[in-house]
Amino acid sequence: MKRTRIALSLITVSLLAACTSSPPTDGQSAVAVEDRSSGAASSGVDNSRVVPVDADSANGKSAYPELKDPKSVLSKRSVLFDYDSYVIKDQYRSLIEAHAKFLTSHTNVKMLIQGNTDERGSREYNLALGQKRADAVKKALTLLGVSEGQLESVSLGEEKPSCGDASESCWSANRRGDMLYSGEF
């Protein structure tokens, strides 16, 4: 009985681990995915290197490595908002433009935009406020020519904070819109 319980917890842990599929949202967490487009290291495979595979990205590898290349602006996926604000700040203009350009040139690719809020107040009202942030990102993309059909804006409200403390620096990190591409959600 004890052994089965341990076995079960191991399964639970591994499944949970397999499930934590948060896509790299800020570039820093995208580790060592081989860049086949660079051509420089194409001569052979380095046998000492272990290439991590993310079991959760539905097809194993993304068809568009630039989306995960930390050097590409497309690997940046988050837009932060001011307190009680649903307006995209100027500093994110080039980021939004880059994603709009990618989506308009890859019309088969879809994007899920998730809006988030800080933890204060009603969960359902925060869900509605998070939706306004996701909608703001969606609107900015459609104004740049992205088809509505490629985009879905949803809210996670206060439910998925990227930062867990009750402090202003944390709250501001949680007032956020995240852009996820097909295969990442």
């Binding site: 319980r5 998730q114 969960r123 359902e124 939706q131 996820l180």
Partner: protein
């Protein structure tokens, strides 16, 4: 156990309804933090023959009555008093009890027991009523709750809620569980386990189903879940967000909040997800609908600039503003008789459960906490269950509609949140 592992693996990896229930160690424990001013002294004598049960029925009865905050338990000593022997009124009066119960537990064949009890007015020396029920020995809790309901109703004139259940979400580490427990926090069972958030559980009026919002699909989707079978269906999964389910009093339809046509707005759907209709429209956010028994749908809207409570006739019509004080009033829940409304108001940075008398327009802040959320009425309207925070941890708390009686329900580890008080059981 192997079967359980298989069941787990067969289920989707993200959501495993019921299969992991046995792993749930967390038990809600209840603590009384405030009581009514004038508590009636009541004695529950030990029942004759109850020592053969796994635990005494009268322990459950006493704990229930004490917890209500309306009664003060008077000790009668260990010697039992049977249902059929003439009671010793002198002994009871000398201890100061105004009312008392006696009873007998006796085998009734095939391993079952008959529990018979009688309630007396100690001053007038008259019987206030009696009841008999048959139970399996491990049903002593259920039986105790029913006896407490009987006594509560005889002494207060209102139905008790000791046999009701509550739903809430337990978050421990990365894991979310939608749990169902008895109103005293015992018998916690997991209805749904997920690694994604679950919010806004809502009981169907007959208590057989829960509607809730689950984020297992990386977006909010409304499900309807039959508790006895674990079967569930999607009630709303339109493009965008789907949230805030609320049952119509006949249990046929759900008010939901959808963003399929733009901002968060009120719609209704059949419980199977068909027949979507718009309930109201505004240029702002409309959310948190709640159906009253007298034909209104209360909701939160920021159409006037700040989030306030409004209501529309359930059959359609003009919206009326209901809350006027302050700049943040959310999460409305009408009382079962439709005469008052409980909601969360922000008062100088504190979020507190507030009661509004709909005819006198008087408001009363019921709590002294700062992070209250998700209030819901007990089916008799006497208590309000809500979520709050103590020492950085999510706990459940209950407060009487007059603000006097206070209880707290917490777990050893993990956050408890999103409570919903279920309806009276139908049996």
């Amino acid at each position: 156990m192997t079967q359980r592992i298989l069941t787990f693996l067969r289920g989707t990896a993200t959501v495993c309804a019921l299969a992991l229930a046995s792993l749930a160690q967390a038990q809600l424990s209840i603590e009384i933090t405030g009581a009514g001013a004038n508590r009636m002294p009541v004695a529950i004598a030990s029942f004759e023959g109850e020592s053969t049960l796994p635990r005494a029925v009268t322990d459950v009865v006493r704990a229930d009555l004490e917890r209500s905050g309306l009664f003060k338990m008077v000790e009668l000593g260990p010697s039992p008093m049977g249902a059929d022997t003439p009671p010793d009124f002198g002994r009871v009066r000398s201890r100061g009890a105004d009312a008392f119960a006696v009873g007998t537990v006796a085998p009734s064949g095939s391993g079952r027991y008959q529990v018979q009890f009688r309630l007396f007015d100690a001053a007038k020396q008259v019987s206030l009523g009696s009841q008999a029920m048959v139970m399996a020995p491990n049903q002593y809790r259920t039986t105790g709750h029913r006896i407490a309901d009987f006594i509560y109703e005889k002494l207060t004139g209102e139905p008790g809620v000791f046999s009701t259940r509550i739903a809430y979400v337990l978050k421990s580490g990365p894991r979310y569980e939608l749990q169902i427990a008895d109103a005293d926090g015992s018998n916690a069972q997991t209805a749904l386990a997920s690694k994604e958030p679950i919010i806004s559980p809502a009981w169907s009026p007959d208590g057989s189903r829960l509607a809730y919002v689950s984020f297992e699909a990386k977006k909010p989707v409304v499900y309807v879940h039959s508790l006895a079978t674990g079967q569930r269906n999607v009630a709303a999964n339109f493009k965008g967000s789907n949230s805030a389910p609320a049952w119509s009093p006949d249990g046929r339809r759900l008010a939901v909040v959808l963003t399929k046509d733009g901002q968060s707005q009120l719609y209704s759907v059949n419980a199977d997800g068909s027949g979507v209709q718009r309930l109201a429209s505004s240029s702002g956010i409309d959310t948190e609908p709640a159906w009253s028994t007298d034909g209104w749908i209360y909701f939160t809207s920021d159409r006037g600039g700040s989030p306030q409570i409004y209501r529309v006739p359930a059959g359609g019509g003009e919206a009326q503003r209901v809350s006027f004080e302050g700049s943040y009033n959310v999460s409305p829940r009408p009382s079962p008789d439709g005469k008052s409304l409980v909601y969360v108001s922000r008062n100088g940075g504190r979020f507190q459960v507030t009661m509004l008398d709909l005819s006198s327009r008087q408001t009363q802040i019921l709590t002294d906490s700062a992070k209250d959320e998700s209030p819901s009425f007990a089916p008799n309207g006497r208590m309000v269950l809500y979520a709050t925070e103590v020492g950085g941890r999510g706990v459940l708390a209950a407060v009487s509609s007059d603000g006097r009686v206070k209880q707290r329900l917490s777990v050893q580890s993990g956050d408890v949140r999103e409570p919903a008080w279920g309806p009276q059981p139908r049996n």
